[in-house]
């Protein structure tokens, strides 16, 4: 593998992904930015957790990284080569090493193909990766690696449970011998007990194969569990990023604080007392993001300045945060009536 000697890195630089605004009142309007000037790095052997609410652009970002969407701006680099403007052949070679595990284990597997076909499909495209006579043995090996009996190779997806299907999805990604795996909500469709099995499997694979994960989820306890680093997205932009322990335990951005405080804790009486911030309103439409700071319409620290200048990411107390008042937010010196411990 071309990059196996150095530590594989996926770098996203100032990425912009847009959707055309069409129809109705929006006709002729500018494109909608789902992802805007977003940068992040995923390193082999580590997990970057990405959290944010629906519509913040997490899935668009994931799909762009694996090449399912074209960016409108910015660059994607992998192993010292630029991926997003590569020609088809080079791109194919590069993207084999960046694989994706999808959220929905029901719709992401072809219902008319057997497990063996689904797992080996990448080898049909990337010829020469695995010689054909080795396919059955390699498929059995992959199924075993993800904790499935080799006999399941002969089954169709509908004959499997949700947890088993998700394992097939993971085996399919591993078939390409990836270094980086983009996991888009890989456990959110699974029941709690099956979720734990899958999280353990992902952790084992990271360990044994040295994989790097971009782990996208909305469940903060899951993300905190598996991540080394965290990035928080709001309306297409990263508002805070840094080591998971720093961002999760001492969030500096008012949105991160609200997000973490809103997530229900399984045993609140055993956890340290937390501030409780209930945001008002919902996420504005990405078609017309607020001027300046995109979070200001729901922020209890917002000042006139926030409507005028968009804050850029800057280093504050060991993490990067995009807020003019991150220091104030971090000190928790908030006199607003919505806060305070319950």
């Amino acid at each position: 593998m071309s990059t196996s000697t150095a530590v594989a890195r996926l770098e996203v630089r100032a990425l912009r992904v847009t959707y055309p605004a069409r129809g109705g009142l929006l006709r002729g309007a500018a494109d909608i930015s789902a992802v805007d000037r977003l940068s992040l790095t995923v390193t082999a052997g580590r997990t970057l957790g990405l959290v944010g609410e629906s519509g913040c652009g997490k899935s668009t970002l994931a799909r762009t990284i694996v090449g399912l969407r074209r960016p409108a701006g910015g660059e994607i680099w992998y192993g010292g080569e630029r991926v997003d403007d590569a020609d088809a052949a080079r791109r194919r070679r590069l993207t084999a090493e960046i694989q994706m595990v999808y959220q929905d284990p029901y719709s992401s597997l072809n219902p008319r193909k057997k497990v063996a076909f689904i797992v080996s499909e990448g080898w049909r495209v990337h010829r020469g990766l695995v010689p054909r006579e080795q396919w059955p043995a390699r498929t059995a090996e992959l199924l075993e690696r993800v904790g499935l009996a080799a006999e399941l190779a002969d089954r169709y997806p509908h004959q499997l449970s949700g947890g088993q299907r998700q394992r097939v999805g993971i085996a399919r990604a591993l078939a390409m011998s990836p270094r980086i795996v983009v996991c888009d909500e890989p456990v959110s469709a699974l029941d709690v007990s099956i979720q734990a099995q899958t999280l353990n499997l992902l952790a084992d694979l990271r360990e044994s194969l040295g994989l790097g994960y971009l782990f996208i989820a909305h469940d903060l306890s899951v993300v905190r569990h598996i991540s080394d680093d965290l990035a928080v997205m709001y309306l297409g932009r990263i508002v805070e990023t840094g080591p998971a322990a720093v961002v999760y335990d001492e969030p500096a951005h008012p949105y991160t604080r609200a997000l973490i405080s809103a997530a229900p804790v399984p045993r609140p009486w055993a956890a340290p007392p937390r501030e409780r911030i209930v945001l008002t309103g919902e996420v504005p439409s990405p078609a017309s993001p607020p001027s300046g700071c995109r979070f200001r319409t729901r922020c209890r620290l917002a000042q006139p300045r926030c409507a005028e200048t968009e804050p850029e990411l800057r280093m504050v107390a060991g993490r990067e945060v995009a807020c003019h008042y991150a220091e104030t937010s971090l000190s928790g010196a908030v006199s607003s009536g919505t806060g305070g411990p319950r």
């Binding site: 609410e53 734990a196 809103a262 229900p264 399984p266």
Partner: protein, 338 residues
């Protein structure tokens, strides 16, 4: 303090369905009760029978494929299974109310939301058109919909997910129910909106002294609002008890397994302890205790004898032959012996 009165009592409920692969029991002897003014959370994974249970209470089971084989459902002294569906529906529209997971399909897309609520007052209380509309607007206002008088004229698709769930709650509360059944009311919502809706439900419940059954698979949501918990597995209630007793000292191995499955905030990255295997298909429920193939405590009699629920501590019941052992061996705090 006077002993609380049970408002709803479900006893040994068995419901079977005719499916394409044969008849199966979705509920296999479900028993629980809800007291006046309390919140009971029914916790369980998909297919455990949570939704079937409350649909049986509301007489909302599909008429042709589902049958209540045995058991009783008593609401405020009245036996619901003995009543004609019509009378249950009447009760269930005035005294019992339900909020569904998916607010988009719970509302009629071509009728203004104000009218959908006003209709309840006109049909059930025979109020005038004008009065019904006024009350509908007041109801929308109460659940925190800004500018309710104007928004009442809007159609469901003009509301965001969170606002639409508020509309559904306003509709459920319209006739002042004594028991609100909320079936995964926040599962489709984002975390910050979920917090808004759970706060709203809590406030409304306290203001009205209404009882609530909350169905969810989210252990955190349960911990946030419930007084008591009932844990379901494979069509039966395996454990019931006060929230903290069930969470801190689970007496059923399945509950214990659930508690160990969730990532602990204080030990990020630590290996999780999942429940081995997967839930059984309702077509092939294991003999004896349905949990025995996945249970680390199982012995020979678990395969042959189905454990009946029994009291393990005040107000705390579990259906396990070895509940005492489970309670003694558990330390969900994480200081479990290696």
């Amino acid at each position: 303090m006077a002993a609380p009165k049970p408002l709803l009592t479900v006893d040994d409920l068995v419901v079977s369905f005719d499916g394409p692969l044969g008849t199966y029991r979705a509920l296999n002897g479900v028993s629980f009760h809800v007291d006046e003014g309390e919140t009971l959370a029914i916790l369980g994974e998909s297919g455990s029978g949570k939704s079937v249970t409350v649909r049986a209470v509301m007489a909302l089971l599909p008429r042709h494929s589902a049958r209540v084989e045995q058991g009783t459902i008593r609401y405020a002294g009245e036996e619901l299974t003995a009543l004609p569906v019509r009378r249950t529906r009447e009760l269930s529209s005035t005294q019992l109310a339900m909020v569904f997971q998916d607010s988009l399909t719970a509302l009629n897309p071509v009728i203004r939301v104000g009218e959908q609520i006003a209709e309840l007052f006109r049909v059930r209380l025979r109020t005038s058109r004008r009065e019904a509309w006024k009350r509908a607007v007041a109801g929308l206002d109460r659940v925190g919909i800004p500018n309710a008088a104007a928004r009442a004229h809007d159609y469901p698709h003009q509301f965001s997910g969170g606002m639409r769930q508020r509309v559904v709650i306003a509709m459920a509360l319209a006739l002042g129910p004594r028991l609100l059944i909320a079936d995964e009311p926040t599962t489709a919502l984002d975390v910050t909106v979920q917090a808004q809706i759970m706060d709203l439900l809590r406030e409304l419940r306290q203001a009205d002294g209404m009882a609530m059954i909350l169905i969810t698979h989210d252990l955190g949501v349960v911990a946030d609002v419930a007084d008591r918990v009932a844990v379901m597995y494979a069509g039966t209630v395996v454990e019931t008890g006060p929230l903290r007793a069930v969470y801190d000292r689970p007496a059923h191995p399945y509950t214990r397994g659930l508690m160990n499955s969730i990532p602990a905030a204080d030990r990020p990255g630590a290996r999780l302890t999942p429940i081995e295997g997967m839930p059984p298909s309702p077509l092939r429920t294991p003999s004896g205790c349905a949990f025995h193939p996945r249970c680390p405590f199982a012995r020979a009699n678990c395969r042959s004898q189905r454990p009946a629920p029994r009291v393990v501590a005040p107000g705390h019941e579990a259906a396990c032959h070895y509940a005492e052992e489970v309670m003694a061996g558990v330390d969900v705090d994480g200081s479990r012996a290696a």
